[in-house]
Amino acid sequence: MNSFAESILMGGYAFYVWTAYGIAFVVLLINLVLPVLQRKQFLRELALKQKRTRQ
Protein backbone atom coordinates (compact mmCIF):
# COMPACT_ATOMS: atom_id res chain seq x y z
CA MET A 1 0.00 0.00 0.00
CA ASN A 2 1.15 3.52 -0.70
CA SER A 3 0.68 6.84 1.05
CA PHE A 4 -2.27 9.11 0.33
CA ALA A 5 -0.14 11.73 -1.41
CA GLU A 6 1.38 9.10 -3.68
CA SER A 7 -2.11 7.93 -4.56
CA ILE A 8 -3.06 11.38 -5.79
CA LEU A 9 -0.04 11.47 -8.09
CA MET A 10 -0.92 8.06 -9.56
CA GLY A 11 2.71 7.24 -10.31
CA GLY A 12 2.89 9.94 -12.98
CA TYR A 13 -0.40 9.00 -14.62
CA ALA A 14 -2.46 11.49 -12.58
CA PHE A 15 -3.65 13.41 -15.65
CA TYR A 16 -5.04 10.32 -17.40
CA VAL A 17 -6.56 8.68 -14.32
CA TRP A 18 -8.21 11.78 -12.85
CA THR A 19 -9.50 13.01 -16.21
CA ALA A 20 -11.09 9.60 -16.81
CA TYR A 21 -12.76 9.64 -13.39
CA GLY A 22 -13.78 13.28 -13.74
CA ILE A 23 -15.49 12.83 -17.10
CA ALA A 24 -17.27 9.68 -15.91
CA PHE A 25 -18.48 11.48 -12.77
CA VAL A 26 -19.85 14.48 -14.68
CA VAL A 27 -21.66 12.35 -17.28
CA LEU A 28 -23.24 10.11 -14.63
CA LEU A 29 -24.27 13.10 -12.51
CA ILE A 30 -26.03 14.77 -15.46
CA ASN A 31 -28.06 11.59 -15.97
CA LEU A 32 -29.26 11.71 -12.36
CA VAL A 33 -29.96 15.43 -12.02
CA LEU A 34 -31.62 16.10 -15.37
CA PRO A 35 -34.70 13.85 -14.89
CA VAL A 36 -35.29 15.25 -11.39
CA LEU A 37 -35.24 18.83 -12.71
CA GLN A 38 -37.42 17.88 -15.67
CA ARG A 39 -39.99 16.23 -13.40
CA LYS A 40 -40.17 19.20 -11.04
CA GLN A 41 -40.65 21.61 -13.93
CA PHE A 42 -43.27 19.42 -15.59
CA LEU A 43 -45.24 19.03 -12.36
CA ARG A 44 -45.15 22.80 -11.85
CA GLU A 45 -46.49 23.40 -15.36
CA LEU A 46 -49.16 20.76 -14.89
CA ALA A 47 -50.31 22.24 -11.60
CA LEU A 48 -50.59 25.69 -13.21
CA LYS A 49 -52.61 24.27 -16.07
CA GLN A 50 -54.94 22.53 -13.66
CA LYS A 51 -55.47 25.66 -11.62
CA ARG A 52 -56.37 27.58 -14.78
CA THR A 53 -58.92 25.01 -15.92
CA ARG A 54 -60.55 24.93 -12.50
CA GLN A 55 -61.12 28.69 -12.44
Partner: protein
Protein backbone atom coordinates in the same frame (compact mmCIF):
# COMPACT_ATOMS: atom_id res chain seq x y z
CA UNK B 1 -54.03 -20.71 -23.68
CA UNK B 2 -51.30 -19.07 -21.68
CA UNK B 3 -47.65 -19.91 -20.98
CA UNK B 4 -47.56 -17.79 -17.84
CA UNK B 5 -49.31 -18.93 -14.62
CA UNK B 6 -52.13 -16.64 -13.55
CA UNK B 7 -50.60 -15.19 -10.30
CA UNK B 8 -47.36 -14.20 -12.07
CA UNK B 9 -49.23 -12.67 -14.96
CA UNK B 10 -51.42 -10.77 -12.48
CA UNK B 11 -48.28 -9.52 -10.70
CA UNK B 12 -46.82 -8.23 -13.96
CA UNK B 13 -50.03 -6.51 -14.97
CA UNK B 14 -50.18 -4.77 -11.60
CA UNK B 15 -46.50 -3.77 -11.88
CA UNK B 16 -47.10 -2.48 -15.37
CA UNK B 17 -50.01 -0.30 -14.25
CA UNK B 18 -48.65 3.26 -14.27
CA UNK B 19 -49.92 4.54 -10.86
CA UNK B 20 -48.72 1.43 -9.08
CA UNK B 21 -45.32 1.65 -10.76
CA UNK B 22 -44.99 5.35 -9.89
CA UNK B 23 -45.81 4.70 -6.25
CA UNK B 24 -43.45 1.74 -5.95
CA UNK B 25 -40.64 3.71 -7.59
CA UNK B 26 -40.97 6.46 -5.00
CA UNK B 27 -40.65 3.92 -2.21
CA UNK B 28 -37.66 2.14 -3.79
CA UNK B 29 -35.53 5.12 -4.80
CA UNK B 30 -34.18 6.17 -1.37
CA UNK B 31 -33.03 2.62 -0.63
CA UNK B 32 -31.39 2.22 -4.01
CA UNK B 33 -29.61 5.55 -3.57
CA UNK B 34 -28.21 4.58 -0.16
CA UNK B 35 -26.93 1.22 -1.44
CA UNK B 36 -25.43 2.90 -4.51
CA UNK B 37 -23.54 5.51 -2.50
CA UNK B 38 -22.14 2.90 -0.10
CA UNK B 39 -20.99 0.63 -2.94
CA UNK B 40 -19.54 3.53 -4.93
CA UNK B 41 -17.69 4.88 -1.88
CA UNK B 42 -16.12 1.54 -1.07
CA UNK B 43 -15.40 0.73 -4.73
CA UNK B 44 -13.57 4.02 -5.31
CA UNK B 45 -11.65 3.79 -2.03
CA UNK B 46 -10.59 0.21 -2.74
CA UNK B 47 -9.86 0.78 -6.40
CA UNK B 48 -7.94 4.04 -6.14
CA UNK B 49 -6.20 3.48 -2.81
CA UNK B 50 -6.27 -0.08 -1.43
CA UNK B 51 -5.63 -2.00 -4.66
CA UNK B 52 -1.94 -2.64 -5.40
CA UNK B 53 -0.09 -1.07 -8.32
CA UNK B 54 0.10 -3.19 -11.47
CA UNK B 55 3.45 -4.81 -12.37
CA UNK B 56 3.30 -3.62 -15.98
CA UNK B 57 1.09 -0.56 -16.17
CA UNK B 58 1.77 1.11 -12.84
CA UNK B 59 -1.09 3.19 -11.54
CA UNK B 60 -2.56 3.92 -14.97
CA UNK B 61 -4.42 0.60 -14.80
CA UNK B 62 -6.72 2.13 -12.14
CA UNK B 63 -8.79 3.49 -15.04
CA UNK B 64 -10.05 -0.12 -15.24
CA UNK B 65 -12.42 0.62 -12.33
CA UNK B 66 -14.54 2.96 -14.44
CA UNK B 67 -13.67 1.72 -17.90
CA UNK B 68 -14.58 -1.96 -17.56
CA UNK B 69 -17.80 -1.57 -15.50
CA UNK B 70 -18.94 1.18 -17.91
CA UNK B 71 -18.23 -1.06 -20.90
CA UNK B 72 -20.15 -3.93 -19.27
CA UNK B 73 -23.07 -1.59 -18.56
CA UNK B 74 -23.09 -0.33 -22.15
CA UNK B 75 -23.76 -3.90 -23.33
CA UNK B 76 -26.06 -4.85 -20.45
CA UNK B 77 -28.31 -1.79 -20.90
CA UNK B 78 -28.57 -2.48 -24.60
CA UNK B 79 -29.80 -6.01 -23.93
CA UNK B 80 -32.30 -4.71 -21.35
CA UNK B 81 -33.48 -2.06 -23.80
CA UNK B 82 -33.92 -4.52 -26.68
CA UNK B 83 -35.77 -6.95 -24.39
CA UNK B 84 -38.10 -4.18 -23.25
CA UNK B 85 -38.55 -3.29 -26.92
CA UNK B 86 -39.57 -6.86 -27.76
CA UNK B 87 -42.01 -6.95 -24.83
CA UNK B 88 -43.45 -3.62 -25.90
CA UNK B 89 -43.88 -4.80 -29.49
CA UNK B 90 -45.47 -8.13 -28.61
CA UNK B 91 -47.63 -7.31 -25.58
CA UNK B 92 -48.10 -3.56 -26.22
CA UNK B 93 -47.22 -2.67 -22.63
CA UNK B 94 -46.87 1.08 -22.13
CA UNK B 95 -44.25 0.73 -19.42
CA UNK B 96 -42.00 -1.38 -21.69
CA UNK B 97 -42.03 1.38 -24.31
CA UNK B 98 -41.05 3.88 -21.63
CA UNK B 99 -38.17 1.64 -20.48
CA UNK B 100 -36.82 1.52 -24.04
CA UNK B 101 -36.61 5.25 -24.54
CA UNK B 102 -35.40 5.93 -20.98
CA UNK B 103 -32.62 3.32 -21.33
CA UNK B 104 -31.11 4.88 -24.44
CA UNK B 105 -29.52 8.02 -22.88
CA UNK B 106 -28.13 6.01 -19.94
CA UNK B 107 -26.69 3.41 -22.28
CA UNK B 108 -25.24 6.11 -24.50
CA UNK B 109 -23.62 7.72 -21.45
CA UNK B 110 -21.96 4.47 -20.38
CA UNK B 111 -20.78 3.80 -23.93
CA UNK B 112 -19.34 7.31 -24.11
CA UNK B 113 -17.59 6.82 -20.74
CA UNK B 114 -16.18 3.46 -21.86
CA UNK B 115 -14.80 5.05 -25.05
CA UNK B 116 -13.36 8.17 -23.41
CA UNK B 117 -11.78 6.38 -20.43
CA UNK B 118 -10.44 3.73 -22.80
CA UNK B 119 -8.86 6.47 -24.87
CA UNK B 120 -7.32 8.03 -21.76
CA UNK B 121 -5.94 4.61 -20.87
CA UNK B 122 -4.75 3.83 -24.38
CA UNK B 123 -2.68 6.99 -24.76
CA UNK B 124 -0.14 6.23 -22.01
CA UNK B 125 -0.16 2.44 -22.42
CA UNK B 126 -0.59 1.66 -26.10
CA UNK B 127 0.80 4.97 -27.29
CA UNK B 128 -2.33 6.13 -29.08
CA UNK B 129 -5.71 7.69 -28.24
CA UNK B 130 -7.59 5.64 -30.81
CA UNK B 131 -7.13 2.75 -33.24
CA UNK B 132 -9.64 1.32 -35.68
CA UNK B 133 -9.46 -2.24 -34.38
CA UNK B 134 -12.51 -4.49 -34.16
CA UNK B 135 -13.22 -3.91 -30.44
CA UNK B 136 -13.01 -0.13 -30.49
CA UNK B 137 -14.90 0.19 -33.76
CA UNK B 138 -17.78 -2.07 -32.68
CA UNK B 139 -18.10 -0.16 -29.40
CA UNK B 140 -18.27 3.10 -31.38
CA UNK B 141 -21.04 1.58 -33.51
CA UNK B 142 -22.89 0.86 -30.25
CA UNK B 143 -22.71 4.56 -29.36
CA UNK B 144 -24.14 5.45 -32.78
CA UNK B 145 -26.94 2.89 -32.27
CA UNK B 146 -27.90 4.54 -28.98
CA UNK B 147 -27.75 8.01 -30.53
CA UNK B 148 -29.74 6.79 -33.53
CA UNK B 149 -32.45 5.46 -31.20
CA UNK B 150 -32.63 8.76 -29.32
CA UNK B 151 -32.87 10.87 -32.48
CA UNK B 152 -35.32 8.53 -34.22
CA UNK B 153 -37.62 8.77 -31.20
CA UNK B 154 -37.33 12.54 -31.26
CA UNK B 155 -38.02 12.72 -34.99
CA UNK B 156 -41.39 10.93 -34.94
CA UNK B 157 -44.23 13.09 -33.70
CA UNK B 158 -46.66 10.37 -32.58
CA UNK B 159 -44.97 8.78 -29.57
CA UNK B 160 -46.69 5.43 -29.99
CA UNK B 161 -45.36 4.88 -33.49
CA UNK B 162 -42.03 6.38 -32.37
CA UNK B 163 -41.78 3.70 -29.66
CA UNK B 164 -42.51 0.98 -32.21
CA UNK B 165 -39.88 2.25 -34.65
CA UNK B 166 -37.30 2.63 -31.90
CA UNK B 167 -37.94 -0.89 -30.56
CA UNK B 168 -37.40 -2.39 -34.00
CA UNK B 169 -34.15 -0.46 -34.44
CA UNK B 170 -33.01 -1.63 -30.99
CA UNK B 171 -33.77 -5.26 -31.86
CA UNK B 172 -31.90 -5.05 -35.17
CA UNK B 173 -28.88 -3.62 -33.35
CA UNK B 174 -28.72 -6.62 -31.01
CA UNK B 175 -26.39 -8.36 -33.52
CA UNK B 176 -23.69 -5.89 -32.55
CA UNK B 177 -23.59 -7.12 -28.94
CA UNK B 178 -21.95 -10.54 -29.52
CA UNK B 179 -19.67 -8.88 -32.08
CA UNK B 180 -18.38 -6.45 -29.44
CA UNK B 181 -17.93 -9.21 -26.88
CA UNK B 182 -16.11 -11.68 -29.14
CA UNK B 183 -14.24 -9.12 -31.29
CA UNK B 184 -11.04 -9.62 -29.26
CA UNK B 185 -11.17 -13.37 -29.90
CA UNK B 186 -12.33 -13.45 -33.53
CA UNK B 187 -9.81 -10.94 -34.85
CA UNK B 188 -6.34 -9.59 -34.09
CA UNK B 189 -7.00 -6.43 -32.11
CA UNK B 190 -4.84 -3.98 -30.24
CA UNK B 191 -7.30 -4.32 -27.37
CA UNK B 192 -6.33 -7.25 -25.14
CA UNK B 193 -8.50 -10.30 -24.50
CA UNK B 194 -11.03 -10.72 -21.67
CA UNK B 195 -9.71 -10.70 -18.11
CA UNK B 196 -12.58 -11.46 -15.76
CA UNK B 197 -14.81 -13.65 -17.93
CA UNK B 198 -12.02 -16.01 -18.99
CA UNK B 199 -13.21 -19.59 -18.70
CA UNK B 200 -10.39 -21.06 -16.59
CA UNK B 201 -9.94 -18.32 -14.01
CA UNK B 202 -9.77 -14.54 -14.06
CA UNK B 203 -6.21 -13.38 -14.69
CA UNK B 204 -6.39 -10.53 -12.23
CA UNK B 205 -5.11 -10.47 -8.67
CA UNK B 206 -7.88 -10.87 -6.07
CA UNK B 207 -7.12 -7.49 -4.42
CA UNK B 208 -7.60 -5.83 -7.80
CA UNK B 209 -10.64 -7.90 -8.72
CA UNK B 210 -12.79 -7.08 -5.67
CA UNK B 211 -12.96 -3.30 -6.30
CA UNK B 212 -13.77 -4.04 -9.94
CA UNK B 213 -16.73 -6.22 -8.99
CA UNK B 214 -17.92 -3.72 -6.36
CA UNK B 215 -17.83 -0.93 -8.94
CA UNK B 216 -19.71 -3.13 -11.40
CA UNK B 217 -22.50 -3.74 -8.85
CA UNK B 218 -22.52 -0.03 -7.93
CA UNK B 219 -23.04 0.83 -11.61
CA UNK B 220 -25.95 -1.64 -11.76
CA UNK B 221 -27.63 0.27 -8.92
CA UNK B 222 -26.86 3.56 -10.63
CA UNK B 223 -28.55 2.21 -13.75
CA UNK B 224 -31.69 1.33 -11.76
CA UNK B 225 -31.81 4.78 -10.14
CA UNK B 226 -31.24 6.71 -13.37
CA UNK B 227 -33.71 4.53 -15.27
CA UNK B 228 -36.46 4.93 -12.66
CA UNK B 229 -35.92 8.70 -12.44
CA UNK B 230 -36.18 9.05 -16.20
CA UNK B 231 -39.15 6.67 -16.36
CA UNK B 232 -41.06 8.80 -13.84
CA UNK B 233 -40.78 11.89 -16.06
CA UNK B 234 -41.76 10.00 -19.20
CA UNK B 235 -44.68 8.35 -17.39
CA UNK B 236 -46.01 11.69 -16.14
CA UNK B 237 -45.76 13.22 -19.61
CA UNK B 238 -47.63 10.36 -21.25
CA UNK B 239 -50.26 10.06 -18.50
CA UNK B 240 -50.79 13.76 -17.80
CA UNK B 241 -54.49 13.60 -18.68
CA UNK B 242 -55.25 10.49 -16.63
CA UNK B 243 -57.07 10.55 -13.32
CA UNK B 244 -54.22 9.25 -11.11
CA UNK B 245 -51.89 12.11 -12.11
CA UNK B 246 -54.63 14.67 -11.35
CA UNK B 247 -55.35 13.10 -7.98
CA UNK B 248 -51.66 13.02 -7.13
CA UNK B 249 -51.25 16.68 -8.05
CA UNK B 250 -54.22 17.72 -5.93
CA UNK B 251 -53.01 15.81 -2.91
CA UNK B 252 -49.57 17.44 -3.22
CA UNK B 253 -50.76 21.03 -3.54
Amino acid sequence: MSFVPAPISRFFHRMASPPHFYCLTNKLLPWLTVIFILLLGYGLYAGLYLAPTDYQQGDSYRIIYVHVPAAWMSLFIYVVMATAGAIGLIWRIKLADIMVICSAPIGASFTFIALVTGSLWGKPMWGTWWVWDARLTSELILLFLYLGIISLYGAIEDKRSASRAVSILALVGVVNIPIIHYSVEWWNTLHQGPTVTKIDKPSIHIDMLIPLLVMAIAFKFYHLIALLQAAKVELLKREQNSQWVKTMLESET
